[in-house]
């Protein structure tokens, strides 16, 4: 137990160090993208890894956060932190509705329902007047964080994004290890029993779903600020598949797995498209197949198993 806790602390420290020095070594915008997706994957992991609910529609929340924050910053002159706050709340609100609907079924059905609902959101974005449809919501200003820090400076933007990521990450970590997290685990293990102990299981599931969706919204909002645009590909079901892949590859139900997974997948995507074009889905698909058939614990999961031995 103690070893595990220390391991986690070590991990967090490492994360901090990497996060602080990364922009000196790597192209900062790339790292910002990694942090956004890492947060997204961690939020997703909260749901799948710790509650046992597979949502195949998480792209919806990413896009809700992204579009609303983008629109607020562009059209209403929101400051970036307010935009992110709005994105978070909006993601949470939509997540609440999705969760409320989807928990009526479990397992595979749950996955299919979330997928279908997110497809609906996709069509909403396609039609909504402010999203620019296929063209995307372009030219979102980065603005000044708290009215002070000019985020057009790439390093200022980087550390701002990293701070958002760390805040989200720590919140998720805390959630997992909270009384609430305990109940989630028990629901994952034996749902009827949890009901019979008097837990209103549906409310726990919905809250977990809402939390996860809200943090996905945070990730989406931050991403919009980084790239200064929100687009339909954030809402496409391929994106939902991608976040599953990141989580699975890094290690389902591990604290750091999603971060590692996001880093790998983003790196891969960034390295590949030059010239290999359509091979990207083939490679992603192959990773999926390998992960599922032979490598279910993911990278971090395997490492943990190795150390425990």
């Amino acid at each position: 137990m103690n070893v595990r806790v220390n391991g986690t602390l070590l991990g967090i420290a490492l994360l901090l160090v990497v996060g602080l020095i990364a922009p000196l070594l790597v192209y900062p915008t790339f790292m910002m993208k990694v942090w956004c997706f890492a947060l997204f994957a961690c939020a997703f992991n909260l749901l799948l890894g710790y509650t046992g609910l597979l949502s195949f529609g998480h792209a919806a929340f990413l896009s809700v956060g992204g579009y609303l924050a983008g629109h607020a910053c562009k059209a209403w002159g929101f400051t970036p932190e307010l935009g992110i706050l709005l994105g978070t709340c909006a993601g949470g609100a939509v997540g609440y509705v999705f969760g409320w609907l989807a928990i009526r079924r479990s397992g595979i059905y749950f996955a299919m329902i979330t997928l279908a609902l997110s497809q609906m959101i996709y069509f909403v974005w396609l039609q909504a007047p402010f999203t620019g449809g296929e063209d995307g919501l372009q030219g979102v200003p980065r603005g000044r964080a708290f009215g002070l820090i000019d985020l057009d400076n790439i390093y200022a933007m980087y550390y701002f994004v990293f701070a958002v990521f760390m805040a989200g990450f720590l919140l998720i970590y805390r959630t997992i290890h909270s009384p609430f997290g305990q109940v989630l685990k028990s629901i994952r293990e034996n749902e009827p029993r949890a009901i019979s102990l008097g837990y209103d299981v549906d409310r726990f599931k919905v809250l977990a779903f809402t939390l996860s969706a809200a943090l996905s919204g945070t990730a989406g909002a931050t991403k919009t600020l980084v790239f200064q645009l929100a687009s339909l590909s954030d809402a496409h079901w391929h994106m939902s598949g991608e976040v599953v892949l990141m989580t699975l590859l890094g290690g389902l139900g591990t604290v750091f797995g999603p971060v590692v997974g996001a880093l790998l997948v983003i790196t891969l995507q960034n390295q590949l498209p030059q010239g290999v074009g359509a091979w990207v889905p083939v490679i992603m698909g192959s990773i999926f197949v390998v992960c599922v058939t032979a490598f279910r614990r993911g990278i971090v999961g395997e490492l943990q198993a190795l150390f425990r031995r």
Binding site: Y27, G132, E134, D135, G139, F227, L229, S233, Q274, G275
Partner: protein
């Protein structure tokens, strides 16, 4: 007058950002990369003994997504010192990259994208819209079809910005030429089955069904219209069709249709010569997008050579000041709003009997002179233009 030092790090780097794998990879894609390379080769040949500076070319797939394009452009500009980005096949990618280039002091030459937004609301100083736009398409095809007697229209429109803008522009032209617009139905993008939308169009009784969509959406609509016996009773007008689309439909299905392009391989001696070079490498005939990429890159390189710098402002100034000189747009000029002003052409697709080879597809029906082909500057909504007024 050339000083090497003025070109940043001694290299002029050109990025071809295009659709390498998707819907539009035939009409742009690898062919655009080839066209850019051909432009560089020709420029080197022109300057004999090699260019006075190093030229590099990079290419990437933007997957027709604004975010991917923006991401890649930012990386190219900030990290890899790319000086100019060419092609940008969809409106979304063009609109995503243009402001970034503007902000970072780089140049974009849009060839693939269609929307008039690029030279209106979203125009930037450092951009040229090179090859075609929805206004020109509407103007060419719409007017011609009305003139042929197709005076009542119903639109089948891809439900997104590009389709809307094509529908709007064409509707205006139709009305201006004395035709009537009876209505429109919008189909999801990308569409799979158009039969129900076509049935609505049929029920409208319009003489002409205007297809305000592109790529497979257009080719599918055309085939299904013939399947449901809609054509030839009613006439179809493909508002954005490329020679590659017509090639894939074949003259049997597409024969007789009118369409507007700014380039066709079989126009004259120069176009045939260049296209043959292209065909030898690519095994397909070039589209107007390919030709446009070539033309834009060549013009850019010449301007860099002439100014001796790769500074965007200087180069852009030079590009705007000198007329284009190549087979694609001889004598064409770049307008304040970034629109390249050149001739456009109205074609009619040959019937199977008329077509003598797989790429022998068009009759030239009319050359639309440069001063009539494009949106008049007076109507411009581009801030660069309106500010001056």
């Amino acid at each position: 007058a050339f000083s090497q030092a003025k070109v940043s790090d001694g290299i002029v780097k050109i990025g071809v950002l295009t659709d390498l794998s998707g819907l539009y990879s035939d009409l742009a894609g690898p062919g655009s990369v080839l066209a850019a390379q051909m432009a560089i080769d020709d420029f080197r040949a022109e300057t004999k003994g090699g260019a006075p500076f190093k030229i590099e070319i990079v290419s990437a797939d933007h997957l027709n997504k604004g975010d991917i394009a923006a991401n890649r452009a930012r990386e190219w500009f900030e990290r890899d010192n790319v000086d100019m980005i060419a092609d940008l096949v969809t409106t979304s990618t063009a609109l995503a990259v243009m402001p970034i280039a503007q902000k970072l002091g780089k140049i974009t030459i849009v060839s693939g994208a269609a929307s008039t937004l690029i030279t209106n609301e979203q125009c930037t100083e450092n951009n040229v819209h090179w090859t075609y736009d929805t206004y020109a398409l509407a103007n060419g095809t719409g007017r011609a079809v009305v003139k042929q007697g197709g005076d009542s229209w119903y639109f089948l429109t891809a439900d997104y910005a590009f389709g809307h803008s094509l529908e709007k522009d064409t509707g205006a032209v139709v009305q201006a030429s004395g035709g009537k617009v009876l209505g429109a139905v919008r189909h999801p993008f990308p569409g799979t089955d158009f039969s129900s939308f076509l049935l609505k169009a049929q029920a409208s009784g319009a003489k002409v069904i205007g297809l305000a969509n592109a790529g497979t959406d257009t080719t599918n609509s055309i085939r299904q219209a013939s399947e449901f016996g809609i054509t030839p009773k009613q006439q179809l007008a493909g508002l954005l069709m490329f020679v590659s689309d017509v090639h894939s439909l074949g003259p049997k299905v597409a024969g007789g249709m009118y369409l507007t392009e700014t380039f066709y391989w079989d126009l004259n001696e120069q176009t045939r010569a260049w296209s043959k070079r292209f065909f030898d490498k690519q095994k397909r005939m070039p589209t107007m997008v390919h030709a446009g990429v070539y033309s834009g890159v060549l013009h850019y390189l010449r301007s860099v050579a002439a100014t001796g710098t790769d500074d965007a402002k200087a180069v852009m100034g030079r590009m705007r000041a000198t007329p284009v000189n190549d087979f694609f747009a001889p004598g064409a000029r770049i307008r304040e709003d970034g629109r390249l002003i050149k001739d456009a052409y109205l074609f009619q697709v040959k019937t199977p009997a008329e077509s003598k080879g797989p790429w022998d597809l068009y009759h030239l029906r009319q050359t639309i002179p440069a001063d009539q082909a494009w949106q008049p500057l007076a109507d411009s909504r581009c801030a660069l233009v309106t500010k001056k007024k």
